[in-house]
Symmetry: C2
Subunit: 408 residues, 2 copies
């Protein structure tokens, strides 16, 4: 539409929606509510009660909303998000919201309304089981990582995509908050005073920092596939029958294991926090079992789909060398374990906490879960080279969780 960027309000968002072609009937009386609970964006839910039609308008703000205008943040992330969603709609249709319009100038995307879905993290805190989740996320990961990679694109196409998704400001957030600040006494950190001893022991753990440095380097330099870049359980919306991945504003070309690991980390954070949430022992045991099974099934589904896509599409004489696909998958697994470990530790020590832990009101209950998260995170980073299957990963995670319970 070509006008200079202006943050929308409830009225101008309605005006904007009304101008969209083919979305609402001409005389519709639109209702609008700003529902953004994130830190960086405005999110308008615009409904025409008469026709039942509705859309979401998501607009980036030029600063981090939670801090205010003192933390400027690139509007280019709205372009990245819109372009990533459009590619996801090609590669993994049905697993992301449909995009109706993108407006680079206004840094916004108009997309499918998912009000009938809920955020997966909330669902999991309420111990809901999602029967489609493992398969859907396996398909999302396999398809988006495969189709954006060297193995599916021509070398020139892949390099053009790398260029398209260079995303310095959003990557900088991850580089700092996931891969740097939690490992020393940084100002951004914020943690439960009851676990200070454990946190300080991480700051002194030189072997751990050396391994995290390797993972950080891989995150920064290995342009393997288009990552979502922030694939935690708050970036997934679900119903019993549907799974939608949202918010790829951190998208960039990085190592495939990072998206898999992000998902795992958030499953494992839910796992370690189960004891702190209300419920009898059987309820806890059985939901943990569901988490474990789902985390494992996500990997096995990912692997089998990725292998099938490879068989179907890869023809390069080098990529088809016997054993090379096994090498690729093996590296994704070990990377995923390491990245999962980093993502767990940062949620305990760093700037951005996670509701699975934060919602534990009793500080000592919370400390118990947080210590577990740190132990699991450390082990995933330090022992990732000994992990050769999702079963190995899950066995490690669950055995640490059980051992600690006995000590406690």
């Amino acid at each position: 539409m070509g006008e200079a960027y202006q943050a929308l309000n409830e009225q101008t968002a309605v005006n904007y929606a009304r101008r969209l072609e083919g979305v609402f009937p001409e005389e519709a009386v639109l209702e609008n509510r700003e529902i953004g609970d994130g830190n960086l964006n405005l999110v308008f839910h615009i409904v025409d009660p008469a026709s039942g039609r509705s859309v979401i308008i998501k607009q980036a703000l030029p600063y981090a909303r939670v801090v205010g205008e003192s933390w400027p943040l690139t509007l280019d992330r709205a372009r990245i998000e819109g372009e990533a969603l459009q590619l996801y709609n090609q590669w993994a249709p049905g697993l992301v919201p449909k995009v109706f319009a993108s407006d680079r100038e206004q840094a916004l995307t108009v997309m499918e309304d998912l009000s009938d879905h809920i955020i997966l993290r909330k669902g999991m805190i309420g111990r809901t089981r999602y029967p489609r989740l493992a398969e859907d996320m396996a398909a999302f990961l396999a398809r988006t990582l495969f189709f954006s990679s060297e193995y599916a694109l021509t070398p020139a196409e892949k390099k053009a995509r790398v260029r398209q998704f260079i995303n310095p400001e959003m990557c900088d957030i991850t580089e700092k908050l996931v891969f740097t600040d939690p490992y020393y006494d940084a100002e951004t950190n914020s943690f439960n005073p009851l676990i200070r001893e454990e946190v300080e022991s991480i700051w002194k753990n030189e072997g751990l920092k050396r391994e995290v440095a390797q993972l950080k380097e891989a995150f920064m330099a290995r342009a393997q596939a288009l990552l979502h870049g922030d694939l935690h359980t708050g970036s997934i919306m679900v119903t019993a029958e549907s799974t939608k991945v949202i918010d790829p504003e951190f998208a960039f070309y990085g190592p495939m294991g990072f998206d898999v690991g992000a998902l795992w980390a958030n499953f494992f954070l839910s796992y370690v926090s189960q004891e702190g949430h209300p419920g009898d022992a059987e309820e806890i045991r059985s939901y943990r079992e569901w988490i474990r099974d789902t985390a494992e099934a996500m990997w096995t589904g990912f692997e089998s789909r990725f292998r099938a896509l490879w068989q179907e599409h890869v023809t390069d004489p080098m990529w088809t060398a016997p054993g090379f696909l096994d090498d690729v998958i093996h590296q994704v697994l070990q990377d995923a374990a390491g990245f999962a470990g980093c993502k767990m530790m940062r949620r305990v020590i760093g700037l951005a906490p996670v509701a699975d832990l934060e919602s534990l009101e009793d500080a000592s209950e919370r400390a118990k879960a947080e210590k577990l998260a740190l132990e699991v995170g450390k082990a995933l980073v330090l022992r990732r080279r000994n992990l050769h299957s999702a079963e190995d990963v899950l066995r490690l995670v669950c055995s640490i969780a059980s051992k600690q319970e006995v000590q406690a």
Copy 2:
């Protein structure tokens, strides 16, 4: 100058040179000779005999000169070359030609005349020793790889450089001619009929292809530092007192080990071809010793300089974790060995031969050297994970060379 691209000829090149500010006296009578012996570019040597001043104008052609207009090739490589040379002049002054002007429209760079230097490959075929070479190349590698990396630049600067040097067409040449075609019966291949058996055994060697696939993936996806990208002994000009790296038109962000490996490969190709060139046993033995010592000293000089730059400049709390620098260097070494292996094999099997071998007129003498090159190349790829020092690398190379001589 803003005019549409036009390939220069000897007359228009002189006119162009005359318009350059501050290069030649106003009334100078310029002499000009086209001296390009490469495949892709025009190179004009323009001299003012009166003042003794001279420059080189290098202009990219929009096709591969050797094949003709049927093989189009991007002019953007001239921008890449000019910009890389300018950065090299900052990072490694004295080790590259000075740049007097760059003209993006005309796809040319005006640079220092190095007519008093000769191409290192020619010097080495003549068994000349260059006392400064190891130290100069060690400095070039350490400084250009370090200062372009994540470890020296801010994350945003590094990502901007990655974008600046995305170089799909030139990378495509390497991806095909170094990492793909030599490993199957590709049309581009061209080799001595006397070694067909050895070449076919490489085409059937699935374990080798799997390892080469890993190296190809690293070349394509690991954006670690700004590489020269074509650092063979034909891209280095020397005198006894001076070393200049030229022709970075293949520059892009890739794994550091690739530049080190390219240099090693060309030293090892010289090593294995020594017996075929005239000279008595002592002459051969002693020049091989010089090659070995120089190849090893290049690495040790590189490593010590890289470590010193790191100590001086790196402050990131993760990169400074004890042991991480060792990991970085260890990986560069093993990558370099693997890439050297690929680069040796491709010079024997692939499209672009190398004068060290081609100048052996007797086909069976040449076959002996070519078989050695293939054996050394294979071993470097397959055993690179067992190599932990330059000494290990050189011991492997030299022991294979000696064993084969006994068999022959």
